[in-house]
């Protein structure tokens, strides 16, 4: 009979009218963010050896790493991500052999000014002369890091292992080839 579908539709909307509402009122309540969420990056400076694997794994050349030779060791002075170009694909995190780079669950990366957009994970001066202990340098790095990210680190260990097993094909393109 003509009109059956019309009445069925009214029944459904009437039922929905009384059904539970699903709105999450954002600033007051938050939708749960899963563990694997691709949010703001966190760099564990102590673990990082500035090998540039992540920078090479990135499809969009988001990561800029600056190194300086201090004594025999390479000392990382800058680790800056041009986050406005980031695809959040996770290839850099997967490529990290030392498990130093992570995603956090923080998705709020808005900035008022364009110049503030790049995510500065490390920016520090290289120590003037080689030091035997890493301690002062690492400490300085920690300070800077805390300055760059006001939010405390959510968690450092990666949830799932297989990707970190570095079986991954990601990255490690030869350095010479037009990077």
């Amino acid at each position: 009979m003509f009109g059956k579908g019309l009445i069925k539709g009214l029944q459904i909307t009437w039922k929905e009218f009384w059904a539970q509402k699903l709105t999450v009122q954002y600033p007051d309540e938050q939708h749960p963010v899963p563990e694997r969420f691709h949010g703001r990056f966190i760099l564990d400076v102590d673990k990082c050896i500035a090998c540039s694997l992540c920078a090479n794994a990135c499809p969009n050349k988001v990561i800029t790493i600056k190194k300086q030779k201090v004594g025999k060791k390479q000392f990382m002075t800058d680790y800056i991500m041009n986050i406005q170009y980031c695809l959040f694909c996770g290839l850099c995190v997967e490529s990290c052999n030392k498990d130093a780079l992570h995603f956090s669950q923080d998705f709020n990366m808005n900035q008022y000014f364009y110049r503030d957009l790049p995510l500065v994970l490390v920016q520090r001066e290289a120590p003037a002369e080689p030091v035997d202990e890493e301690a002062p340098a690492a400490k300085a790095g920690d300070d800077k890091k805390a300055k760059a990210k006001p939010k405390p680190k959510a968690k450092t260990d990666k949830p799932a292992e297989p990707a970190a097993d570095s079986e991954v094909a990601a990255g490690k393109a030869p350095d010479k080839e037009g990077q």
């Binding site: 539709g9 009214l10 459904i12 909307t13 009218f17 009384w18 539970q20 509402k21 699903l22």
Partner: protein, 350 residues
């Protein structure tokens, strides 16, 4: 006490003015003016409230909660929106016909406001109880077509043009079943006066004696106000916003509020003609008559809103076909049957 609240206020005003010693005619004019202003304020506030209601109804049917930030439960949301829209610039397209373009949103409210003068909101609560009330209402209400057309034509945009052509086609062709649907009721009552029509429904509402007429009227009325499933005029997925495409700011808001005022008109009309106006059902007289009137009206408005949030839009040729091939013949048949029925009743001698 509550029953005669508004009538009492009018009487009080009249006696107050009587005490001042001014001539009686002037007093009557002042009372009339006060009534009209009251209705005007009522309509505008109601239009705001209806926008809020529509948003809430829509949200609740879509598993959302709707506006709830501005004011208690979001009640001031529309007020805030209007405040924002007033502050916005009205952009006038370069090649628009400026005078007509600006005149259309100003005039769009006029027919709606004029119509409300004859609507009885409760017992003895019509501003003017005209003896051609129904006729006046239909004649004035159909004027709004003109202003939609003005807005669409003056915008000088193709989408607006298509939209306003649709307005004219749709409103003209649905005016006919609308009037023919009401004719059945008018035939039974034998009067065009609203109070007579309501008085005739004291025992039986006309929705029971004229169900087909009600159906025809309601469908045609939904089409008259350009509501889904007949909202081809706006048809946002086809022609952006039809005649209002080029309007912004308060000019747009006027069209928008007029739509809700129009819904109020058609639902009030349906209440008067078919649902017994302000008569209380089941002898529940202790609730004031005007509360009943508004209750019935808002139930109808809710149904119109539920239509909008349930049904998709029909196509322009289907719209015309439905109007001329289904509704008009059905309405004519209804008039014919009503006429025969009346004759039979008279013959039996009821």
């Amino acid at each position: 006490m509550l029953e005669n609240l508004f009538v009492g206020i009018a009487d009080w005003l009249r006696s107050l003015l009587g005490g001042l010693g001014t001539p009686g005619e002037i007093n009557e004019a002042i009372v009339m003016l006060a009534k009209l202003v009251a209705i005007l304020v009522f309509i505008l506030v109601n239009a705001l409230w209806l926008v809020y209601m529509e948003r809430k109804v829509a949200a609740y049917m879509q598993a959302r909660i709707g506006p709830n930030r501005v004011g208690p439960k979001g009640l001031l949301q529309t007020t805030a929106d209007i405040g924002k829209l007033i502050s916005k610039e009205i952009v006038i397209p370069k090649k628009a016909d400026v005078v007509v373009f600006l005149l259309a949103p100003v005039l769009i409210f006029v027919p709606t406001l004029m119509v409300f003068a004859v609507i009885p909101f409760g017992k003895n609560m019509a501003a003017i109880d005209m003896n051609i009330g129904v006729f006046y209402l239909l004649a004035i209400a159909s004027l709004s077509t003109l202003f939609f057309w003005m807005g669409g034509w003056a915008s000088n945009s193709k989408y607006s043009l298509i939209g306003s052509m649709r307005v004219v086609a749709q409103m003209v062709s649905y005016e006919l079943p609308l009037v023919l649907g009401l004719l059945g009721v008018v035939m039974i009552v034998g009067s065009l006066k609203m109070s007579d029509i309501i008085a005739a429904q004291e025992h039986t509402w006309f929705i029971f004696t004229q169900p087909i007429a009600f159906l025809i009227y309601f469908i045609a009325a939904v089409a008259e106000t350009n509501r889904t499933p007949f909202d081809l005029v706006e048809g946002e997925s086809e022609i952006i916003a039809g005649p209002y495409t080029e309007y912004g700011g308060m000019a747009f808001a006027m069209f928008f509020l007029a739509e809700y005022a129009n819904i109020m008109v058609i639902c009030a009309m349906a209440t008067i003609m078919f649902l017994g106006g302000w008569h209380a059902p089941f002898g529940l007289d202790f609730i004031p008559s005007w509360v009943w009137f508004f209750l019935k009206m808002y139930i109808l408005i809710f149904i119109v809103m539920q239509f909008r949030w349930t049904y998709p839009r029909i196509r322009v040729d289907q719209l015309m076909g439905f109007g001329w091939k289904v509704l008009v013949p059905l309405a004519l048949a209804n008039i014919f049957i009503t006429g025969i029925g009346m004759k039979i009743y008279q013959a039996i001698g009821w």
